[in-house]
Protein backbone atom coordinates (compact mmCIF):
# COMPACT_ATOMS: atom_id res chain seq x y z
CA UNK A 1 0.00 0.00 0.00
CA UNK A 2 1.11 3.53 -0.75
CA UNK A 3 2.52 5.39 2.22
CA UNK A 4 0.28 8.36 2.95
CA UNK A 5 1.73 11.77 3.72
CA UNK A 6 1.35 12.98 7.28
CA UNK A 7 -1.52 15.38 7.82
CA UNK A 8 -0.12 18.44 9.62
CA UNK A 9 -2.78 20.65 11.20
CA UNK A 10 -2.68 24.05 12.91
CA UNK A 11 -3.59 24.90 16.47
CA UNK A 12 -3.68 28.34 18.07
CA UNK A 13 -5.07 27.03 21.36
CA UNK A 14 -5.37 23.86 23.42
CA UNK A 15 -8.97 23.20 22.28
CA UNK A 16 -7.82 23.52 18.66
CA UNK A 17 -4.95 21.10 19.28
CA UNK A 18 -7.34 18.56 20.77
CA UNK A 19 -9.75 19.09 17.86
CA UNK A 20 -6.94 18.40 15.40
CA UNK A 21 -5.86 15.24 17.20
CA UNK A 22 -9.45 14.00 17.66
CA UNK A 23 -10.25 14.52 13.99
CA UNK A 24 -7.29 12.69 12.56
CA UNK A 25 -4.24 14.95 12.36
CA UNK A 26 -0.97 13.00 12.43
CA UNK A 27 0.85 16.11 13.56
CA UNK A 28 -0.17 19.43 15.09
CA UNK A 29 1.90 22.59 14.84
CA UNK A 30 1.73 25.37 17.41
CA UNK A 31 3.51 28.47 18.63
CA UNK A 32 4.42 30.25 21.85
CA UNK A 33 2.71 33.44 22.98
CA UNK A 34 5.42 35.79 21.70
CA UNK A 35 7.01 37.28 18.59
CA UNK A 36 8.94 34.10 17.79
CA UNK A 37 6.24 32.69 15.55
CA UNK A 38 4.51 33.89 12.41
CA UNK A 39 1.01 34.00 13.94
CA UNK A 40 1.75 36.39 16.77
CA UNK A 41 -1.84 37.48 17.40
CA UNK A 42 -3.47 38.62 20.62
CA UNK A 43 -5.33 35.82 22.42
CA UNK A 44 -3.63 33.15 20.35
CA UNK A 45 -0.98 30.53 21.06
CA UNK A 46 0.28 28.56 24.04
CA UNK A 47 1.69 29.06 27.50
CA UNK A 48 4.22 26.46 28.62
CA UNK A 49 1.60 24.72 30.79
CA UNK A 50 -0.91 24.56 27.93
CA UNK A 51 1.76 23.28 25.60
CA UNK A 52 2.89 20.62 28.06
CA UNK A 53 -0.69 19.39 28.29
CA UNK A 54 -1.12 19.54 24.52
CA UNK A 55 2.04 17.57 23.89
CA UNK A 56 0.98 15.00 26.49
CA UNK A 57 -2.45 14.71 24.86
CA UNK A 58 -1.09 14.31 21.32
CA UNK A 59 1.76 11.97 22.18
CA UNK A 60 -0.51 9.74 24.28
CA UNK A 61 -2.43 9.15 21.04
CA UNK A 62 0.79 8.60 19.05
CA UNK A 63 0.57 11.96 17.34
CA UNK A 64 3.28 14.58 17.08
CA UNK A 65 3.54 18.24 18.06
CA UNK A 66 5.76 20.68 16.18
CA UNK A 67 6.59 24.11 17.55
CA UNK A 68 6.94 26.93 15.03
CA UNK A 69 9.66 29.42 15.98
CA UNK A 70 9.67 30.79 12.50
CA UNK A 71 10.16 34.53 12.63
CA UNK A 72 13.59 36.09 12.29
CA UNK A 73 15.43 36.74 15.55
CA UNK A 74 15.82 40.49 15.90
CA UNK A 75 19.31 41.70 16.84
CA UNK A 76 19.60 42.64 20.48
CA UNK A 77 16.69 40.35 21.41
CA UNK A 78 18.00 37.04 20.08
CA UNK A 79 17.79 35.60 23.60
CA UNK A 80 13.97 35.52 23.32
CA UNK A 81 14.26 33.18 20.35
CA UNK A 82 16.96 31.05 21.96
CA UNK A 83 14.85 30.71 25.10
CA UNK A 84 11.89 29.60 22.99
CA UNK A 85 13.99 26.91 21.31
CA UNK A 86 15.25 25.76 24.72
CA UNK A 87 11.66 25.59 26.03
CA UNK A 88 10.53 23.62 22.98
CA UNK A 89 13.31 21.12 23.57
CA UNK A 90 12.58 20.74 27.27
CA UNK A 91 8.83 20.42 26.68
CA UNK A 92 9.52 17.43 24.45
CA UNK A 93 8.35 18.82 21.11
CA UNK A 94 8.74 16.34 18.26
CA UNK A 95 10.43 19.04 16.17
CA UNK A 96 10.83 22.80 15.89
CA UNK A 97 10.11 24.71 12.71
CA UNK A 98 12.75 27.39 12.10
CA UNK A 99 13.51 29.89 9.34
CA UNK A 100 16.43 31.98 10.66
CA UNK A 101 19.86 30.62 9.70
CA UNK A 102 21.41 31.81 12.97
CA UNK A 103 18.69 30.06 14.97
CA UNK A 104 19.13 26.86 12.95
CA UNK A 105 22.83 26.97 13.81
CA UNK A 106 22.01 27.56 17.50
CA UNK A 107 19.43 24.76 17.70
CA UNK A 108 21.66 22.30 15.86
CA UNK A 109 24.58 23.00 18.19
CA UNK A 110 22.71 23.35 21.49
CA UNK A 111 20.10 20.60 21.06
CA UNK A 112 21.63 18.01 18.73
CA UNK A 113 18.74 15.60 19.38
CA UNK A 114 16.01 18.12 18.58
CA UNK A 115 14.55 17.53 15.10
CA UNK A 116 14.65 20.62 12.90
CA UNK A 117 12.24 21.54 10.12
CA UNK A 118 12.93 24.40 7.73
CA UNK A 119 9.93 26.72 7.83
CA UNK A 120 8.14 27.97 4.75
CA UNK A 121 9.35 31.39 5.95
CA UNK A 122 12.87 30.20 5.11
CA UNK A 123 11.94 30.65 1.42
CA UNK A 124 13.67 27.45 0.27
CA UNK A 125 12.26 26.90 -3.22
CA UNK A 126 15.06 24.76 -4.65
CA UNK A 127 16.98 21.65 -3.67
CA UNK A 128 20.31 23.46 -3.33
CA UNK A 129 18.88 25.65 -0.58
CA UNK A 130 17.35 22.65 1.21
CA UNK A 131 20.49 20.56 0.87
CA UNK A 132 22.62 23.36 2.31
CA UNK A 133 20.35 23.49 5.37
CA UNK A 134 20.57 19.70 5.57
CA UNK A 135 24.37 19.67 5.42
CA UNK A 136 24.79 22.56 7.83
CA UNK A 137 22.01 21.95 10.34
CA UNK A 138 20.79 18.41 9.72
CA UNK A 139 17.23 19.51 8.92
CA UNK A 140 14.85 16.56 8.56
CA UNK A 141 12.08 18.33 6.67
CA UNK A 142 11.50 21.47 4.61
CA UNK A 143 8.18 23.21 4.03
CA UNK A 144 7.98 24.52 0.47
CA UNK A 145 6.72 28.02 -0.32
CA UNK A 146 3.44 28.05 -2.22
CA UNK A 147 5.06 29.14 -5.47
CA UNK A 148 6.13 25.86 -7.08
CA UNK A 149 4.36 23.79 -9.72
CA UNK A 150 3.84 20.06 -9.18
CA UNK A 151 6.74 19.14 -11.52
CA UNK A 152 8.95 21.62 -9.62
CA UNK A 153 7.95 20.04 -6.29
CA UNK A 154 8.76 16.62 -7.73
CA UNK A 155 12.13 17.86 -8.97
CA UNK A 156 12.98 19.09 -5.47
CA UNK A 157 11.92 15.78 -3.90
CA UNK A 158 14.06 13.81 -6.36
CA UNK A 159 17.15 15.84 -5.52
CA UNK A 160 17.17 15.96 -1.74
CA UNK A 161 17.29 13.49 1.16
CA UNK A 162 15.14 15.90 3.19
CA UNK A 163 11.41 15.20 3.67
CA UNK A 164 9.23 17.67 1.80
CA UNK A 165 6.08 19.19 3.27
CA UNK A 166 3.68 21.17 1.09
CA UNK A 167 0.62 23.25 1.83
CA UNK A 168 -2.71 21.56 1.24
CA UNK A 169 -5.40 23.91 2.43
CA UNK A 170 -5.92 27.40 3.80
CA UNK A 171 -5.32 31.04 3.06
CA UNK A 172 -2.96 31.51 0.18
CA UNK A 173 0.17 33.64 0.11
CA UNK A 174 0.71 34.65 -3.49
CA UNK A 175 4.20 35.93 -2.63
CA UNK A 176 7.12 33.68 -1.74
CA UNK A 177 6.94 33.39 2.04
CA UNK A 178 9.84 35.06 3.80
CA UNK A 179 10.40 37.21 0.70
CA UNK A 180 7.53 39.61 1.25
CA UNK A 181 7.71 42.83 3.26
CA UNK A 182 4.59 44.50 1.84
CA UNK A 183 3.11 44.46 5.34
CA UNK A 184 5.94 46.45 6.90
CA UNK A 185 5.95 48.87 3.96
CA UNK A 186 2.38 49.76 4.91
CA UNK A 187 2.50 49.33 8.70
CA UNK A 188 6.08 48.88 9.94
CA UNK A 189 5.36 45.25 10.93
CA UNK A 190 5.98 42.18 8.78
CA UNK A 191 5.97 38.40 9.12
CA UNK A 192 9.79 38.42 9.29
CA UNK A 193 10.08 40.97 12.08
CA UNK A 194 6.84 40.74 14.06
CA UNK A 195 5.19 37.50 12.98
CA UNK A 196 2.22 39.34 11.51
CA UNK A 197 0.88 40.33 8.08
CA UNK A 198 -1.51 43.24 7.63
CA UNK A 199 -1.91 43.32 11.44
CA UNK A 200 -5.36 43.87 12.94
CA UNK A 201 -4.14 46.76 15.09
CA UNK A 202 -3.72 48.81 11.89
CA UNK A 203 -7.08 47.88 10.34
CA UNK A 204 -9.81 50.49 10.27
CA UNK A 205 -13.29 50.12 8.80
CA UNK A 206 -14.90 53.38 7.86
CA UNK A 207 -18.39 53.83 6.56
CA UNK A 208 -19.11 56.39 3.87
CA UNK A 209 -22.85 56.18 3.32
CA UNK A 210 -23.46 52.75 1.87
CA UNK A 211 -19.79 52.17 1.14
CA UNK A 212 -17.46 50.40 3.55
CA UNK A 213 -13.78 51.31 3.32
CA UNK A 214 -11.23 48.80 4.60
CA UNK A 215 -8.00 50.53 5.54
CA UNK A 216 -4.61 49.37 6.70
CA UNK A 217 -2.69 52.12 8.50
CA UNK A 218 -4.88 54.60 6.63
CA UNK A 219 -4.18 53.10 3.19
CA UNK A 220 -7.35 52.12 1.35
CA UNK A 221 -6.99 48.39 0.63
CA UNK A 222 -10.53 47.69 -0.52
CA UNK A 223 -13.96 49.25 -0.72
CA UNK A 224 -17.21 47.31 -0.47
CA UNK A 225 -20.55 48.45 -1.79
CA UNK A 226 -23.79 47.83 0.06
CA UNK A 227 -24.52 44.11 0.24
CA UNK A 228 -21.04 43.09 -0.93
CA UNK A 229 -19.36 40.75 1.57
CA UNK A 230 -16.49 42.66 3.17
CA UNK A 231 -13.22 40.77 3.55
CA UNK A 232 -10.28 41.43 5.85
CA UNK A 233 -7.87 43.94 4.25
CA UNK A 234 -4.88 41.66 3.67
CA UNK A 235 -2.93 44.04 1.54
CA UNK A 236 -2.05 41.73 -1.36
CA UNK A 237 -5.72 40.84 -1.71
CA UNK A 238 -7.17 44.31 -2.13
CA UNK A 239 -8.54 46.05 -5.19
CA UNK A 240 -6.32 48.72 -6.65
CA UNK A 241 -6.04 50.79 -9.81
CA UNK A 242 -3.38 50.03 -12.41
CA UNK A 243 -3.39 52.29 -15.48
CA UNK A 244 -6.93 53.32 -14.61
CA UNK A 245 -8.29 49.79 -14.31
CA UNK A 246 -9.46 48.71 -10.84
CA UNK A 247 -9.15 45.02 -9.98
CA UNK A 248 -7.43 42.59 -7.66
CA UNK A 249 -4.03 43.70 -8.94
CA UNK A 250 -2.08 41.00 -7.07
CA UNK A 251 -4.47 38.27 -5.91
CA UNK A 252 -8.14 37.58 -5.18
CA UNK A 253 -9.20 36.58 -1.67
CA UNK A 254 -8.97 32.84 -2.14
CA UNK A 255 -7.99 29.64 -0.34
CA UNK A 256 -5.65 26.91 -1.50
CA UNK A 257 -7.28 23.49 -1.83
CA UNK A 258 -5.30 20.50 -3.14
CA UNK A 259 -7.95 17.78 -2.78
CA UNK A 260 -8.09 17.28 -6.55
CA UNK A 261 -4.37 16.54 -6.79
CA UNK A 262 -3.87 14.48 -3.62
CA UNK A 263 -3.03 11.32 -5.61
CA UNK A 264 -0.36 13.27 -7.50
CA UNK A 265 1.15 14.63 -4.28
CA UNK A 266 1.28 11.08 -2.92
CA UNK A 267 2.80 9.72 -6.13
CA UNK A 268 5.65 12.24 -6.21
CA UNK A 269 6.52 11.47 -2.60
CA UNK A 270 5.37 14.45 -0.57
CA UNK A 271 6.03 13.50 3.07
CA UNK A 272 3.52 15.78 4.73
CA UNK A 273 0.59 17.98 3.83
CA UNK A 274 0.03 21.09 5.85
CA UNK A 275 -3.13 22.98 6.69
CA UNK A 276 -2.76 26.75 7.20
CA UNK A 277 -4.60 28.55 9.98
CA UNK A 278 -3.26 28.72 13.53
CA UNK A 279 -5.32 31.90 13.82
CA UNK A 280 -8.56 30.02 13.06
CA UNK A 281 -11.08 28.58 15.54
CA UNK A 282 -11.16 25.03 16.96
CA UNK A 283 -14.32 24.50 14.87
CA UNK A 284 -12.40 25.36 11.69
CA UNK A 285 -9.55 23.07 12.68
CA UNK A 286 -11.98 20.23 13.38
CA UNK A 287 -13.83 20.66 10.08
CA UNK A 288 -10.76 20.96 7.90
CA UNK A 289 -8.87 18.17 9.68
CA UNK A 290 -11.83 15.77 9.43
CA UNK A 291 -12.27 16.53 5.73
CA UNK A 292 -8.60 16.22 4.79
CA UNK A 293 -8.26 13.05 6.86
CA UNK A 294 -11.11 11.45 4.92
CA UNK A 295 -9.72 12.64 1.60
CA UNK A 296 -6.17 11.51 2.35
CA UNK A 297 -7.34 8.07 3.47
CA UNK A 298 -9.21 7.71 0.18
CA UNK A 299 -6.48 9.20 -1.98
CA UNK A 300 -4.33 6.07 -1.99
CA UNK A 301 -7.08 4.22 -3.88
CA UNK A 302 -6.99 3.97 -7.67
CA UNK A 303 -10.57 5.19 -8.06
CA UNK A 304 -10.10 8.33 -5.95
CA UNK A 305 -12.54 11.13 -6.61
CA UNK A 306 -13.14 14.31 -4.64
CA UNK A 307 -16.45 13.83 -2.82
CA UNK A 308 -18.94 16.71 -3.07
CA UNK A 309 -19.38 16.80 0.71
CA UNK A 310 -15.63 17.45 1.16
CA UNK A 311 -15.78 20.40 -1.23
CA UNK A 312 -18.87 21.76 0.48
CA UNK A 313 -17.25 21.48 3.91
CA UNK A 314 -14.09 23.27 2.80
CA UNK A 315 -15.97 25.90 0.80
CA UNK A 316 -17.73 27.05 3.97
CA UNK A 317 -14.41 27.90 5.61
CA UNK A 318 -12.57 29.28 2.55
CA UNK A 319 -11.44 32.84 2.19
CA UNK A 320 -13.92 34.67 -0.05
CA UNK A 321 -15.59 31.26 -0.50
CA UNK A 322 -13.18 30.67 -3.37
CA UNK A 323 -10.64 27.89 -3.79
CA UNK A 324 -7.68 27.38 -6.07
CA UNK A 325 -4.91 24.93 -6.80
CA UNK A 326 -2.56 27.91 -6.69
CA UNK A 327 0.90 27.47 -8.10
CA UNK A 328 0.55 23.68 -8.29
CA UNK A 329 -1.48 24.01 -11.48
CA UNK A 330 -0.75 27.59 -12.50
CA UNK A 331 -3.76 28.47 -14.63
CA UNK A 332 -1.98 31.78 -15.07
CA UNK A 333 1.19 30.14 -16.32
Amino acid sequence: MTRLPQLVCPAGSLPALKAAVDNGADTVYVGFKNATNARNFAGLNFTDAQLAEGIRYAQSKKREVLIAINTYAQAGRVQEWHASIDRAASLGADAVILADLGLLAYAHKTHPDLKLHLSVQGSATNFEAINLAHEAFGIRRAVLPRVLTLPQVEYVINNTPVEIETFGFGSLCVMAEGRCILSSYATGQSPNTHGVCSPAAFVRWDNQGKTMNARLNGILIDRFEDGEPAGYPTLCKGRFAVLGETYYALEEPVSLNVLAILPELIRIGVAAIKVEGRQRSPAYVAEVTRTLRAALDAAGNADFQVKPQWSTALDKVSEGHQQTLGAYSRPWK
Binding site: L101, N126, N131, V147, L182, L220, V242
Partner: protein
Protein backbone atom coordinates in the same frame (compact mmCIF):
# COMPACT_ATOMS: atom_id res chain seq x y z
CA UNK B 1 36.14 56.23 6.38
CA UNK B 2 34.66 57.14 3.03
CA UNK B 3 31.77 55.06 1.83
CA UNK B 4 31.90 53.75 -1.70
CA UNK B 5 28.96 53.86 -4.07
CA UNK B 6 27.59 50.82 -5.83
CA UNK B 7 25.15 50.41 -8.68
CA UNK B 8 22.64 47.73 -7.70
CA UNK B 9 21.33 45.13 -10.15
CA UNK B 10 18.91 46.37 -12.79
CA UNK B 11 15.47 45.33 -11.52
CA UNK B 12 13.51 46.29 -14.65
CA UNK B 13 13.39 44.74 -18.10
CA UNK B 14 14.72 47.17 -20.64
CA UNK B 15 15.33 46.66 -24.36
CA UNK B 16 18.77 45.35 -25.10
CA UNK B 17 20.21 48.58 -26.48
CA UNK B 18 18.89 50.65 -23.58
CA UNK B 19 20.55 48.25 -21.15
CA UNK B 20 23.86 48.32 -22.99
CA UNK B 21 23.75 52.12 -23.22
CA UNK B 22 23.00 52.34 -19.51
CA UNK B 23 26.06 50.30 -18.56
CA UNK B 24 28.25 52.11 -21.10
CA UNK B 25 27.34 55.32 -19.28
CA UNK B 26 27.76 53.70 -15.87
CA UNK B 27 31.36 52.84 -16.75
CA UNK B 28 32.06 56.55 -16.30
CA UNK B 29 30.01 57.13 -13.16
CA UNK B 30 31.63 57.49 -9.73
CA UNK B 31 30.58 54.01 -8.54
CA UNK B 32 33.14 51.47 -7.37
CA UNK B 33 30.98 48.37 -7.71
CA UNK B 34 28.46 47.35 -10.37
CA UNK B 35 26.00 44.46 -9.84
CA UNK B 36 24.98 42.73 -13.06
CA UNK B 37 22.55 39.99 -14.03
CA UNK B 38 18.83 39.30 -13.97
CA UNK B 39 17.40 39.13 -10.46
CA UNK B 40 13.66 39.14 -11.11
CA UNK B 41 12.48 36.83 -13.89
CA UNK B 42 13.99 33.83 -15.65
CA UNK B 43 12.09 34.72 -18.83
CA UNK B 44 13.97 37.96 -19.39
CA UNK B 45 16.55 37.38 -22.10
CA UNK B 46 17.28 40.67 -23.84
CA UNK B 47 20.77 40.04 -22.50
CA UNK B 48 22.07 36.47 -22.54
CA UNK B 49 24.73 35.05 -20.23
CA UNK B 50 27.44 35.91 -22.77
CA UNK B 51 26.21 39.52 -22.86
CA UNK B 52 26.34 39.86 -19.08
CA UNK B 53 29.83 38.33 -19.02
CA UNK B 54 30.99 40.69 -21.79
CA UNK B 55 29.60 43.62 -19.81
CA UNK B 56 31.39 42.30 -16.73
CA UNK B 57 34.65 42.34 -18.63
CA UNK B 58 34.13 45.87 -19.97
CA UNK B 59 33.22 47.25 -16.58
CA UNK B 60 36.14 45.49 -14.93
CA UNK B 61 38.42 47.09 -17.52
CA UNK B 62 36.84 50.43 -16.63
CA UNK B 63 38.00 49.85 -13.05
CA UNK B 64 34.75 48.65 -11.50
CA UNK B 65 34.37 45.69 -9.21
CA UNK B 66 31.73 43.51 -10.85
CA UNK B 67 29.35 41.22 -8.97
CA UNK B 68 26.86 38.89 -10.65
CA UNK B 69 23.55 38.94 -8.77
CA UNK B 70 21.39 35.84 -8.47
CA UNK B 71 17.64 35.74 -8.91
CA UNK B 72 15.80 36.15 -5.62
CA UNK B 73 13.46 33.27 -6.40
CA UNK B 74 15.24 30.24 -7.84
CA UNK B 75 12.46 27.86 -8.82
CA UNK B 76 13.36 25.76 -11.81
CA UNK B 77 16.33 23.63 -12.76
CA UNK B 78 17.11 26.12 -15.52
CA UNK B 79 17.24 28.93 -12.94
CA UNK B 80 19.79 26.93 -10.94
CA UNK B 81 21.85 25.85 -13.93
CA UNK B 82 21.92 29.40 -15.30
CA UNK B 83 23.23 30.64 -11.98
CA UNK B 84 25.97 27.98 -11.88
CA UNK B 85 27.11 28.85 -15.41
CA UNK B 86 27.40 32.55 -14.57
CA UNK B 87 28.99 31.88 -11.19
CA UNK B 88 31.72 29.70 -12.69
CA UNK B 89 32.75 32.42 -15.12
CA UNK B 90 31.67 35.65 -13.50
CA UNK B 91 33.72 35.81 -10.34
CA UNK B 92 31.95 37.36 -7.39
CA UNK B 93 28.29 36.51 -6.76
CA UNK B 94 25.48 38.24 -4.91
CA UNK B 95 23.40 35.48 -3.31
CA UNK B 96 19.76 36.41 -2.94
CA UNK B 97 18.67 32.86 -2.17
CA UNK B 98 20.02 30.10 0.07
CA UNK B 99 20.49 27.96 -3.06
CA UNK B 100 22.80 30.64 -4.43
CA UNK B 101 24.77 30.53 -1.17
CA UNK B 102 25.21 26.79 -1.74
CA UNK B 103 26.41 27.36 -5.31
CA UNK B 104 28.93 29.99 -4.20
CA UNK B 105 30.13 27.91 -1.27
CA UNK B 106 30.59 24.77 -3.35
CA UNK B 107 32.54 26.70 -5.99
CA UNK B 108 34.59 28.50 -3.34
CA UNK B 109 33.46 31.89 -4.66
CA UNK B 110 33.41 34.83 -2.23
CA UNK B 111 29.86 36.17 -2.22
CA UNK B 112 27.76 39.12 -1.22
CA UNK B 113 24.87 38.13 1.04
CA UNK B 114 22.07 40.01 -0.70
CA UNK B 115 19.16 41.96 0.78
CA UNK B 116 16.73 39.05 0.39
CA UNK B 117 18.64 36.57 2.58
CA UNK B 118 16.88 37.80 5.73
CA UNK B 119 19.82 38.68 7.94
CA UNK B 120 18.27 40.17 11.05
CA UNK B 121 20.91 39.28 13.66
CA UNK B 122 24.65 38.92 14.16
CA UNK B 123 24.70 35.14 14.34
CA UNK B 124 23.00 34.75 10.99
CA UNK B 125 25.55 37.11 9.48
CA UNK B 126 28.39 35.22 11.18
CA UNK B 127 27.10 31.94 9.76
CA UNK B 128 26.97 33.38 6.25
CA UNK B 129 30.49 34.73 6.64
CA UNK B 130 31.61 31.20 7.53
CA UNK B 131 30.11 30.05 4.22
CA UNK B 132 32.14 32.66 2.36
CA UNK B 133 30.20 35.94 2.52
CA UNK B 134 32.55 38.92 2.29
CA UNK B 135 29.88 41.60 2.17
CA UNK B 136 26.22 41.85 3.13
CA UNK B 137 23.22 43.98 2.39
CA UNK B 138 20.79 44.30 5.33
CA UNK B 139 17.09 43.54 4.77
CA UNK B 140 15.37 46.53 3.20
CA UNK B 141 13.02 46.85 6.17
CA UNK B 142 15.89 47.05 8.69
CA UNK B 143 16.26 50.64 9.86
CA UNK B 144 19.03 52.54 11.56
CA UNK B 145 18.49 50.99 15.01
CA UNK B 146 18.11 47.43 13.70
CA UNK B 147 21.21 47.79 11.55
CA UNK B 148 23.27 49.17 14.45
CA UNK B 149 22.13 46.25 16.61
CA UNK B 150 23.15 43.67 13.99
CA UNK B 151 26.54 45.34 13.53
CA UNK B 152 27.06 45.36 17.29
CA UNK B 153 26.21 41.67 17.51
CA UNK B 154 28.25 40.25 14.64
CA UNK B 155 31.74 38.89 15.28
CA UNK B 156 32.79 38.34 11.64
CA UNK B 157 34.60 40.80 9.42
CA UNK B 158 32.45 41.67 6.42
CA UNK B 159 31.70 44.80 4.46
CA UNK B 160 28.28 46.37 4.95
CA UNK B 161 26.36 47.79 2.00
CA UNK B 162 23.12 49.68 2.54
CA UNK B 163 20.35 50.07 -0.04
CA UNK B 164 20.44 53.86 -0.10
CA UNK B 165 18.35 54.96 -3.04
CA UNK B 166 15.76 53.30 -5.24
CA UNK B 167 12.30 51.83 -5.41
CA UNK B 168 12.11 49.01 -2.89
CA UNK B 169 11.82 45.42 -4.12
CA UNK B 170 9.26 44.40 -1.49
CA UNK B 171 8.01 40.98 -2.62
CA UNK B 172 8.63 38.16 -5.07
CA UNK B 173 6.10 35.75 -6.49
CA UNK B 174 5.95 32.90 -8.97
CA UNK B 175 3.06 34.80 -10.51
CA UNK B 176 3.65 37.63 -12.95
CA UNK B 177 1.56 40.67 -12.12
CA UNK B 178 2.43 42.48 -15.33
CA UNK B 179 1.15 39.53 -17.38
CA UNK B 180 -1.90 39.44 -15.09
CA UNK B 181 -2.57 43.11 -15.79
CA UNK B 182 -2.68 42.38 -19.51
CA UNK B 183 -4.72 39.18 -19.05
CA UNK B 184 -1.81 37.19 -20.43
CA UNK B 185 -0.34 33.98 -19.12
CA UNK B 186 3.14 34.16 -17.69
CA UNK B 187 4.59 31.78 -20.26
CA UNK B 188 3.16 33.83 -23.12
CA UNK B 189 3.56 37.25 -21.52
CA UNK B 190 4.70 38.93 -24.76
CA UNK B 191 7.41 40.47 -22.57
CA UNK B 192 5.16 43.39 -21.65
CA UNK B 193 7.67 44.45 -18.97
CA UNK B 194 9.65 45.96 -21.86
CA UNK B 195 6.97 48.64 -22.15
CA UNK B 196 7.31 49.67 -18.52
CA UNK B 197 10.91 50.67 -17.87
CA UNK B 198 10.03 51.84 -14.35
CA UNK B 199 7.30 49.26 -13.72
CA UNK B 200 3.56 49.84 -13.43
CA UNK B 201 2.28 51.96 -10.52
CA UNK B 202 -0.50 50.57 -8.32
CA UNK B 203 -2.75 53.23 -6.83
CA UNK B 204 -5.39 52.89 -4.16
CA UNK B 205 -8.94 53.72 -5.17
CA UNK B 206 -8.37 57.09 -3.54
CA UNK B 207 -5.51 57.74 -5.94
CA UNK B 208 -2.72 57.26 -3.41
CA UNK B 209 0.52 55.94 -4.94
CA UNK B 210 1.14 52.66 -3.17
CA UNK B 211 3.00 49.90 -4.95
CA UNK B 212 4.61 49.18 -8.30
CA UNK B 213 4.35 46.05 -10.43
CA UNK B 214 7.57 44.84 -12.01
CA UNK B 215 6.81 41.41 -13.46
CA UNK B 216 6.98 38.87 -10.63
CA UNK B 217 8.32 41.53 -8.28
CA UNK B 218 6.27 44.03 -6.31
CA UNK B 219 7.99 47.29 -5.48
CA UNK B 220 7.19 50.45 -3.59
CA UNK B 221 5.58 53.10 -5.80
CA UNK B 222 7.79 55.72 -4.19
CA UNK B 223 11.57 55.85 -4.11
CA UNK B 224 13.21 54.97 -0.80
CA UNK B 225 16.09 57.35 -0.24
CA UNK B 226 18.64 57.88 2.51
CA UNK B 227 19.78 61.08 0.83
CA UNK B 228 18.77 63.12 3.86
CA UNK B 229 20.48 60.69 6.25
CA UNK B 230 23.98 60.74 4.75
CA UNK B 231 25.59 62.24 7.82
CA UNK B 232 23.99 59.54 10.02
CA UNK B 233 25.26 56.86 7.63
CA UNK B 234 28.77 58.24 7.82
CA UNK B 235 28.88 57.64 11.55
CA UNK B 236 27.84 53.99 11.35
CA UNK B 237 30.94 52.23 10.07
CA UNK B 238 29.34 51.34 6.73
CA UNK B 239 31.35 50.52 3.64
CA UNK B 240 29.09 50.94 0.64
CA UNK B 241 25.87 52.62 -0.42
CA UNK B 242 23.72 51.12 -3.14
CA UNK B 243 21.90 53.12 -5.80
CA UNK B 244 19.24 51.08 -7.59
CA UNK B 245 18.91 51.73 -11.34
CA UNK B 246 15.88 53.60 -12.69
CA UNK B 247 15.02 54.48 -16.28
CA UNK B 248 15.98 58.15 -15.93
CA UNK B 249 18.42 60.23 -13.89
CA UNK B 250 20.39 57.36 -12.33
CA UNK B 251 23.62 59.09 -13.40
CA UNK B 252 22.52 62.38 -11.84
CA UNK B 253 21.57 60.64 -8.59
CA UNK B 254 24.92 58.82 -8.44
CA UNK B 255 26.75 62.09 -9.11
CA UNK B 256 24.80 63.84 -6.36
CA UNK B 257 25.60 61.13 -3.81
CA UNK B 258 29.27 61.16 -4.85
CA UNK B 259 29.45 64.93 -4.51
CA UNK B 260 27.73 64.88 -1.15
CA UNK B 261 30.07 62.16 0.14
CA UNK B 262 33.05 64.20 -1.05
CA UNK B 263 31.47 67.15 0.80
CA UNK B 264 31.06 69.18 -2.33
CA UNK B 265 27.98 71.29 -2.82
CA UNK B 266 24.76 69.32 -2.77
CA UNK B 267 22.25 69.85 -5.58
CA UNK B 268 19.51 72.30 -4.77
CA UNK B 269 16.66 70.03 -5.74
CA UNK B 270 17.54 66.37 -5.26
CA UNK B 271 13.89 65.28 -5.25
CA UNK B 272 13.35 66.39 -8.87
CA UNK B 273 14.75 63.08 -10.14
CA UNK B 274 12.07 61.05 -8.42
CA UNK B 275 8.77 62.77 -9.17
CA UNK B 276 6.99 59.63 -7.85
CA UNK B 277 8.04 60.81 -4.39
CA UNK B 278 10.65 59.93 -1.78
CA UNK B 279 10.12 57.84 1.36
CA UNK B 280 12.43 56.83 4.22
CA UNK B 281 10.17 55.32 6.89
CA UNK B 282 12.09 52.05 7.08
CA UNK B 283 15.25 53.86 8.11
CA UNK B 284 13.39 55.28 11.10
CA UNK B 285 11.90 51.92 12.10
CA UNK B 286 8.47 52.89 10.80
CA UNK B 287 6.25 51.94 7.90
CA UNK B 288 8.41 52.09 4.79
CA UNK B 289 5.89 54.29 3.00
CA UNK B 290 6.37 57.16 5.47
CA UNK B 291 8.56 60.17 4.86
CA UNK B 292 10.21 61.61 7.94
CA UNK B 293 12.21 64.77 8.31
CA UNK B 294 15.84 64.05 9.10
CA UNK B 295 16.99 65.71 12.28
CA UNK B 296 20.73 65.61 11.77
Amino acid sequence: MTMKLTLGPLLYYWPRQQTLDFYAAAANWPVDVVYLGEVVCGRRHELRDADWLALAEELTTAGKEVVIASQALLESSSDLNGLKRLAEKGGRLEANDLGAVKVARDLGIPFVAGPHLNIYNGQTLDWLAEQGAVRWVPPLEAGKAALAAILAEKTCTVETEVFAHGRLPLAFSARCFTARHYNLKKDSCEFRCLNHPDGLPINTREGQDFLRINGTQTQSAACHSLWGALSQLQGMNLDLLRISPQAHYTGEIVAAFAAALAENTAPADFAQWNPEGLVNGYWHGNAGIKLEEETT
